[in-house]
């Protein structure tokens, strides 16, 4: 019975770990999307300073979160998002509205893929 108790505890802990990772990915993706939307708005209004400020915030937020995400998300996926966020930063510094917009679209696509890869859906299960 002791062994079953230990197994049950490990199983429950594993389940909650998976659930926590799922929530963490969802929240991170949501925050990142919000930041990107705000950057896009500022970029459209040609408020590059404001957008750059937001982008810096996003980068520091992402750097912090990606360290934890790398524990359970494929590192290639994280590298792609990281790279596209860096491109946004450079584009904003160059005050290039079109480049920023393009980089934002690709970053959004990667974030969407990240969310979808962790989503509980029929496609993902099978």
């Amino acid at each position: 019975m002791k062994k079953i108790g230990i197994t049950l505890t490990i199983f429950v802990l594993t389940f909650f770990l998976c659930l926590a990772s799922f929530i963490f990915v969802e929240k991170t993706a949501q925050y990142t999307e919000n930041y990107l939307e705000e950057i896009e708005k500022s970029n459209d209004k040609k408020e590059f300073e404001m957008a750059l400020e937001k982008c810096k915030e996003l980068n520091s937020f992402w750097d912090e979160r990606s360290k934890i995400l790398s524990v359970f998300i494929h590192h290639d996926t994280l590298d792609k998002i990281n790279q596209s966020l860096k491109v946004i930063n450079v584009s904003l510094k160059n005050k290039s509205r079109i480049e920023t917009s393009k980089a934002k679209v690709s970053a959004m696509a990667y974030i969407k893929a990240l969310k979808e890869s962790d989503e509980i859906s029929i496609e993902n299960i099978f």
Binding site: K3, I4, T7, F11, T14, C18, S70, V71, H74, D76
Partner: protein, 224 residues
């Protein structure tokens, strides 16, 4: 590369502990579910071990889940015979009173050659010598020979034989094994007494065995 080494070490430790937690069994004695889990674990572990871009947890979580499921299943199998039958199947008699049960053999998809091979491994060279042959749930064959073909033992011959006494290794490579010592009801003083009579120290002994009747055997370390 250092990451690969650390990952391999971590996975090795986790797998060894997981399999130990599942319980000791030999590959040939594994039940179907245990065999599946063992094969899956080795396969799953190899992916994050080779690919450092793959998070270690993507390998660890399935391993933990598989081991937990295996322990739950084995627990329920002990508790519920119907469940055990569902997972492991049941033993099948393939030879009864020297006669091969062809239908059962066919159901098991076992050829006559395979059957004979297994009988030969058990030193049986004629089906007529077999009273019953059973294929157990783990795939092993158990055979009961006909009474006239069985090797007689001391009780059937009416011979009194001395009682078997279990022998323990009480000193191994110069180290006293306290557990073995207490298992045969002996003390450290008894060892000291024996060794002093032989003018030996504990560190000079390669192996010393003893039983509860205080019968012992001492092998000295060879000088190198």
């Amino acid at each position: 590369m250092l990451i690969s080494l650390l990952r391999a070490l971590l996975l090795y430790i986790i797998i060894v502990f997981s399999i130990k937690f599942m319980g000791k069994r030999q590959i040939s004695e594994l039940q179907t579910s245990e065999l599946v889990v063992t094969l899956l674990i080795s396969d799953i572990a190899s992916i994050p071990m080779q690919n450092s871009a793959q998070p270690l947890f993507s390998g660890l979580i399935p391993i933990v889940v598989l081991v937990c499921c295996e322990i739950f299943i084995s627990h329920f199998m002990v508790k519920n015979s119907k469940f055990r039958k569902l997972i492991c199947g049941s033993a099948v008699i393939i030879i009864s009173e020297g006669k091969i049960l062809q239908k059962e053999l066919e159901k098991l998809r076992m050829s006559v050659d395979e059957l004979y091979e297994q009988l030969h491994e058990m030193d049986i060279f004629s089906v007529k010598d077999v009273a019953f042959a059973i294929i157990e749930t783990n795939g092993k064959m158990s055979v009961l020979k006909k009474s006239e073909r069985q090797t007689p033992d001391s009780s059937s011959l009416g011979i009194d034989t001395p009682e078997n006494v279990l022998e323990f290794v009480v000193i191994s490579n110069g180290e006293i094994n306290n557990l073995s010592l207490s298992s045969c009801g002996l003390s450290k003083n008894w060892i000291d007494e024996i060794l002093s009579k032989k003018k030996l120290n504990v560190s000079d002994v390669y192996i010393m065995t003893a039983n509860k009747n205080k019968e012992f055997n001492v092998i000295k370390k060879e000088k190198t």
